[in-house]
């Protein structure tokens, strides 16, 4: 579909601007599906109307009619054709769904916590924020989402994405915004009294401005979003005195992680954390996967789910016992112990 007609369709259908490639792909499918829907309803309605006029009863005397029975095979053939169309949509939709769930290479990882009734954001490098999510434009971002109290849902209409935030689970959501801008975020899963005000703003900054944000400046777009009175808890967090990885080191000691996991490369009761992040793990099932932030988080919450071969299954769960920000910090700490990351700060 050519871009101009896509913009026209977006206007007709009241779709907000599409701020990522994925969003534009989804919109293209959307246009096909909704056009077919309208045509289908119109076709059935008009056919019925034509029959109605053509075969209307003259006078009040009913007349006998012919017995017309269509063999079932024709009905099934019609159904088969329609199913073909639906399956074509399904096929495209399925591929898009896979693309939505695939974590892009080198994505910036940000922890998102929904609680009644605000969104909190924590990332490795930047300051913690509430109500304002600051990301760089044109760079893949991966959100690791959880909830503190009840189920919420993180919804960015401009990106056509939504992901439930579920207590006790981490779900993820990836996107790459292709131009700077501010986009509204809503909570889409009913969560109580102020559900309809659980809003946030997603601010995508040009790379150089994002760098300044990391260094402590507050770019105008971020300041504006943070000052928006409509946003629940709209404020920008204070920069922490220590880095998030350092906080992770403290938390790892506090939660007793270091009793079983070393940081110097020696295997102990559990695998060492040195070089763990980004390495390939072999599970007891023989399956292989890469230890990314999602895997590490999952291992803390449901340690028995993806057991690594060669270790006793003794890791306790930390589900519900750790603040999401602490989880983020510990994962950051493990990340800082990558082989290519040099000594921990």
């Amino acid at each position: 579909m050519i871009p101009a007609s896509a913009d026209l369709m977006r206007d007709v259908l009241f779709l907000p601007e599409a701020a990522s490639r994925q969003a534009r792909d989804i919109d293209a499918l959307h246009f096909w599906v909704i056009s077919a829907t309208m045509l289908g309803a119109l076709a059935v309605g008009l056919t019925a109307l034509v029959f109605l006029v053509k075969y209307r009863r003259m006078g009040d005397r009913p007349r006998p009619t012919r017995f017309i029975a269509l063999p079932v095979k024709y009905e099934l053939a019609m159904a088969g054709l329609l199913l073909g169309l639906f399956l074509a949509w399904w096929f495209v939709g399925y591929r898009q769904m896979i693309a939505l769930q695939r974590a892009p290479e080198g994505a910036l990882e940000i922890y998102v916590t929904g609680k009644q009734w605000m969104w909190k954001f924590a990332s490795a490098d930047g300051p913690d924020t509430v109500g304002v999510l600051v990301v760089p434009a044109a760079r893949p971002v991966r959100l690791l989402i959880t909830a503190r109290d009840v189920v919420h849902s993180f919804f960015v209409p401009a990106l056509r994405v939504k992901q439930d935030a579920i207590p006790g689970r981490y779900t993820s959501l990836s996107f790459t915004i292709d131009r700077p801008g501010s986009f509204p975020v809503y909570c889409a899963e009913y969560c109580g009294l102020s559900h309809s005000r659980m809003w946030a703003t997603l601010v995508a900054l040009p790379p150089e401005e994002y760098q300044r944000w990391l260094e402590g400046a507050v770019p105008p777009a971020v300041g504006e979003a943070g000052g928006n009175a409509d946003i629940a808890g709209g404020r920008l967090g204070e920069r922490e005195a220590i880095s998030i990885a350092q906080r992770g080191e403290q938390q790892a000691a506090r939660y007793g992680c270091l009793a079983c996991h070393t940081v110097d490369g020696q295997p102990h009761i559990g695998p060492t954390w040195r070089g763990l992040f980004g390495s390939e793990r072999v599970l007891v099932t023989g399956q292989r996967l890469v230890a990314d932030a999602a895997y590490l988080t999952q291992s803390m919450m449901r340690p028995m789910e993806d057991l690594v071969a060669g270790y006793p299954p003794v890791m306790p769960t930390y589900q519900g016992q750790m603040e999401p920000a602490d989880v983020a910090a510990i994962v950051e700490y493990i990340k800082s112990l990558r082989h290519d990351a040099g000594r921990a700060p």
């Binding site: 449901r302 028995m304 789910e305 299954p313 306790p316 769960t317 589900q319």
Partner: protein, 210 residues
């Protein structure tokens, strides 16, 4: 009592309808427990070690005794039905009354077991001493499910026993048709059949206790 309801064309048809409806109702009952089996399946996949430990902790002997009691009760009610069909109401009464007594025995054993659990500090919702003293994560879910499932089953046993008690009384008074007893017996067999699944899930498939 040989009269059939006015809207049925014959007594045989009325009895067919009643038996058929009972089977349909049993299907409905089965789906009630299916939800609990589904929960068990999901949580056991989440927490295999905790569930094995929880099953190991339960008293397999008590569970097995209760299984034998229930199966015997099913046999006696089936025999009672046969006797009533063959016009031996006194024998039928004795057999159905035995079934009710066995149901009572089942409940006594079950309540004893609940008492033991309470003593050990195993209460639903992960409450009690047992969990405070460091149970495996997931054992709370196991025992809450245990309480829920066996509790719901015990309620069914009580209802089934109550129905059979009334039927036994009516056999004695000679006002119960075999077709009616068959409905009660069908229900009782369902209660029994469900327990046959609870028995391995909650007593037999354990690992070593922790």
């Amino acid at each position: 009592m040989a009269e059939h309801a006015a809207h049925f064309e014959s007594l045989a048809r009325q009895q067919t309808a009643a038996r058929f409806a009972m089977w349909v109702f049993l299907a409905s009952e089965l789906l009630l427990f299916a939800g609990l089996f589904f929960l068990y399946m999901c949580y056991r996949l989440y927490w295999p070690a905790a569930f094995a430990s929880g099953v190991g902790h339960n008293h397999a002997l008590l569970g097995t005794v209760n299984t034998i009691v229930l199966i015997t009760a099913s046999i006696t009610v089936a025999m009672g039905l046969r006797k009533l069909q063959h016009g031996a109401p006194r024998a039928a009464f004795r057999l159905v009354a035995t079934t009710v007594l066995l149901a009572g025995l089942f409940l006594v054993v079950k309540l004893t077991e609940y008492g033991v659990h309470i003593d050990e500090g195993i209460l639903p919702g992960g409450r009690g001493r047992y969990f405070a003293e460091g149970a495996l994560p997931g054992e709370a879910a196991f025992f809450t499910l245990y309480w829920l499932t066996t509790g719901l089953h015990a309620i069914h046993v009580t209802v089934g026993a109550g129905v059979l008690l009334v039927m036994a009384w009516r056999i004695r008074r000679g006002t119960l048709r075999a077709a009616q007893l068959e409905l009660g017996a069908l229900y009782w067999h369902l209660v029994d059949a469900i327990w046959i699944f609870l028995w391995p899930l909650y007593y037999l498939t354990g690992g070593a206790p922790k």
